[in-house]
């Protein structure tokens, strides 16, 4: 079979090879330059972040043995040999997990409603006045960029310790994130129904209600469910700053070296996140068909 491949005569081949090398050379040069710049950035970053490979390698054993320790009970046996002892606090933890889910549910719902109200003003094609769009967009951007836990830190001082601060922090962050996604859906909506409704003399509000909303509602619900999933994860750490949920228990267990408690709480958080992921995935596929699952 090898004879089927024809080999070009020498001079012709040399010209082609030359052209190829030239084409590749400029690409390679660019690639090398980019790599050099990137490595320089990395080295500067490594100095800035106080990277110390010696501590890393001397203590890396700690990282592995940490997982060994958190999976060992106080009497030295593996945790899974005595589930009852491992999950000794399951009543309290289950309650806290419930609170975590509730925090993210209430937060997501408040955030989704606020985002729903605001997003029509933020979308380019439906906003009634340009300056209002600018203001709302900057507001949403602010709510989205400041991390939820920073809001939680401030709210804990304003509203006192407890889940209220966590809910409000999650609500604000979700408003920002969902507001942007919602307004993008609206911007992709078909404007012909809006023209149709407006031609009957309807107000702006009716245009939104009868022409835009039916097109975008499914997308909204899908994004809100996705956000709920993310917020469960976020709510699990709200307790670190005293804003309610299972995080409080976890941070206490980690700081006080209650090793087997750390693993028990981590395992229950991971299990909860799995269940919520699967549940919302199932709901989205039920509600909107497979193609809406992103």
């Amino acid at each position: 079979m090898a004879s089927a491949v024809s080999i070009l005569p020498g001079p012709q081949l040399a010209a082609l090879n030359d052209a190829y090398r030239k084409a590749v050379a400029s690409k390679r040069l660019r690639m090398t330059l980019a790599t050099a710049v990137f490595s320089a950035c990395l080295i500067i970053a490594a100095i800035g972040a106080e990277v110390n490979l010696r501590t890393f390698f001397t203590h890396f054993g700690n990282f592995l043995s940490y997982f060994d320790r958190i999976f060992t009970l106080e009497d030295g046996t593996r945790v899974w040999t005595n589930i009852g002892e491992w999950f000794w606090g399951w009543r309290k933890w289950l309650w806290m997990l419930g609170e975590t889910i509730l925090i993210s549910y209430v937060g997501t719902l408040i955030g989704a409603v606020l985002a729903f109200v605001l997003n029509f003003f933020a979308a380019e094609n439906t906003s009634p006045v340009p300056w209002l769009r600018f203001v709302i967009r900057r507001l949403l951007e602010f709510a989205r960029t400041v991390p939820g836990i920073v809001f939680a830190l401030i709210f804990v001082i304003a509203f006192g310790l407890g889940p209220t601060a966590g809910v409000l922090a999650i609500a604000i962050h979700s408003t920002g994130a969902l507001g942007k996604l919602f307004s993008e859906i609206v911007e992709n909506a078909d404007m012909k129904p809006v023209e149709g409704v407006r031609s009957t003399g309807a107000s702006w509000l009716s245009c939104m209600r009868f022409a835009v909303l039916p097109q975008v509602a499914a997308g909204y619900a899908s994004y809100a469910l996705l956000r709920f999933e993310i917020n469960v994860r976020e709510a699990s750490v709200m307790g670190f700053v005293g804003a309610g949920g299972i995080g409080q228990e976890l941070v206490v267990a980690i700081r006080k070296f209650y090793y087997s408690d750390v693993s028990a709480i981590l395992v229950s958080i991971i299990a909860t996140v799995f269940i919520i992921d699967i549940g919302t995935g199932w709901m989205r596929s039920r509600l909107f068909g497979r193609e809406a699952r992103t």
Partner: protein, 282 residues
Amino acid sequence: MSQLPKPDSEQLRAKYPDVFDRPASSRLAMPAMMIGAFAIFIFGLVDLEFSPAKLISGLSQLGWITLMMIPPDPGSSLPLYLTALGETLSIALLGTTIAAVLALPVSLLAARNIVPSGFLRFPVRRLLDSIRGVDTLIWALVWINVVGLGPFAGVLAIAVSDFGAFGKLFSEAIEAADKKQVEGIRASGGNALHEIRFGLMPQVLPVIAGQVLYFIESNTRSATIIGIVGAGGIGLQLAEQIRVLEWQKVSFLILMILVAVAAIDWISGKLRFAIIGKRAVV
């Protein structure tokens, strides 16, 4: 103007019974779901100790705080804050890079078209899922136990939690790759590694580069908060100033974060544009 013929409603009703008389179950499903959702919401408000009095006093408190934040003022600690910001950016860049480098080989194991047998793929995927299920802040706490307080713990925390995310995203990108190039390499006598290197990587790398840039951007945000638990960067300063109620410094730090995130946003947008062209920029 011609008159439209009047529709014969009786005939239509007979023809499309399910449009006119929808079964009660489908008519009630939506309101029932809404009432259910609302009921859980009310239960949540009660259970999470919401009360009008608390909200009003909290909001007025918040109003005071906002007033005290104006104008933002770093006091005399501007150099300290700039160093902290540099530390945050370093954490984001380094953590994301380490995560991407480690995740690339693992993502091959999690991709269906590389490893057809579920034996290896399934545990790798579950491992990645579990890593992703744990928040960056929790990883930061764990790493602080291992390498001590400081930004290095932050780098490792971001690296580990992104490792889970990248593993999943990369393996999805690999699964979406075109099979024809790979078959071409195989037909010309390449082995499995050649197939990956010359058939798969040229397709996948631009996608991956885009995702990594996007994550550097979003990790700038994550890196600001891991300082709250003691893993270095600007979050440490922020949490401290909030605790001592230095609101002018707090608002200045928040502004710094916003500006830094916007700047990284802009740069990575440009870079993504350069690498993968306009169509793939989300």
